[in-house]
Symmetry: D2
Subunit: 163 residues, 4 copies
């Protein structure tokens, strides 16, 4: 069984046509999994729906607590891209033994249709969580990195390897 | 470096609005990789553009020949779903040593927009080819199978494990 | 009140991922009207769901009968493009007095997403039916034609004025 | 010939994936007209690319000046929805004789894919401009209103008739 924890981020942002602002409603994950014709044994749980710039260490402890408590060793976390590496570092430091934890997200909301990278990232995130050894990883741009080997380049929007 | 071989299949079918028929034009892969914001070192080569029901063993030998000849051990093949397992079996039998070969495809053409599973499958196929040990695999429905453990259920359109 | 009669055509075709064939399910009109945020007073009724090449004069008499019987003088008909002008001619000949009847359709199914012209054509068809004087019209390619001034060019897929 | 003047608004907003903000790039109109398979004789000119809340009377005079100067009596203006009725009132007051001027827009950006109403509104706007008598109109929600008979309901996002 694979556990998916939803934490928000651009991946799940929606457009409010009255205010013209981006906001969070329900996660798009169930629709995405159905469209992907996914037959994996999955459990999806929304822990929070926040912009990752607003994530606190209390939120991160909440995520870590849920990773520890869940009865599987394959965990995918959807997360905003701005602090994905911070949360990955927090989880790597949280003494969660023997589990493969993959963080993924999107640069363009899934709700924005044919320009979004979210559906591709979900496919790769689910694949990595099934096939990588225990550890904490970031999966973006078709690739994966160990938690301490990656950073987001804020000016290009791409993830890069830290040498 | 990852080698992608394009062979056609529903993944790359287009709709001809004059005739009302499905047909093949150029592959959608370059557009999909850009949309996925993919930064992997990739080489994409179209070997053929055919419905997999029309694939012959000569075509399969062509695919095997290209798998042998390419200077990388990570190979992703986009392929029609109807005979994906036959091509996987052919490649498993073709004495291609030390390479991870993943076949993926789509049940709904990428060109048909928001209902297609192709973009999700591309993400998972690229992830599996980076993380699975040498062998021949089929990647569909978010999952992967060894070449001899899977079949497509023709009445549901889902891939199933052979016991 | 505007009456919409659905008769099928490419406009409402869907892709069957098991058979790989195009087919008809329910009309996409309710979803399209909601997406268009349409607040017109509308009644939608499906008369048939057929490829317009399969339409018989019995079907056309059925359409004419419904046009006569409905208690409004604004009628939009969604229709396959191949015989749109034949049905328009049949209706022009059917002694339906004082009603504005507009036929529209699509070259690419609405279900095929971002390449379809159907949503644009629905917008223009609804506008023409509100603003043109009584008569029978074909609305395609952003334009409208009197029923006897238009033909579909089968090789280009565009509608043309008959001189 | 139909003249289209682009002024910005939600219709043409894009998502900046680096900043997470909405912004204006080039207009989506050329792509939309091609997708709509539009064969009207059209001229498209971008006058400005602004959120309609930022439109000044100087901008409105610019629009009026262009409406007066152009050598056609059919003019479609794409415009933000928040002040669409103000601009319509300005143009009605600007002594532009004998021209049909239609303002349209969108509640959800065209770039946001399958949820946007923009493509439908473009179809209806183009149809109304061909078929309504001289005057200034607002076309939204599948309907049209005389410039002085409509207002946007800011809490629902729908346009309403002023009694």
């Amino acid at each position: 069984m694979i556990q998916i924890f939803v934490t928000g981020g651009t991946f799940d942002k929606e457009y409010n046509f009255v205010s013209g602002q981006l906001y969070f409603q329900d996660s798009n994950l169930p629709e995405m999994l159905e469209r992907g014709r996914c037959t994996l044994d999955l459990n999806v749980r929304t822990l929070m729906m926040v912009d990752s710039l607003d994530l606190t260490d209390l939120d991160r402890e909440n995520i870590a607590h849920n990773c520890r408590g869940v009865d599987t060793d394959q965990i995918l976390i959807t997360h905003g891209t701005d602090t994905m590496q911070q949360t990955a570092a927090y989880l790597a430091d949280a003494n969660i033994e023997g589990k493969t934890i993959v963080l993924t997200g999107a640069m363009i909301p899934y709700a924005f249709g044919s320009s979004s990278d979210g559906f591709f990232n979900l496919g790769s995130g689910l694949a990595f969580v099934q096939s990588l050894p225990p550890g904490v990883y970031v999966a973006m741009n078709g690739r994966y990195w160990d938690w301490d080997k990656v950073r987001k380049n804020r000016s290009t929007g791409y993830f890069e390897t830290i040498k």
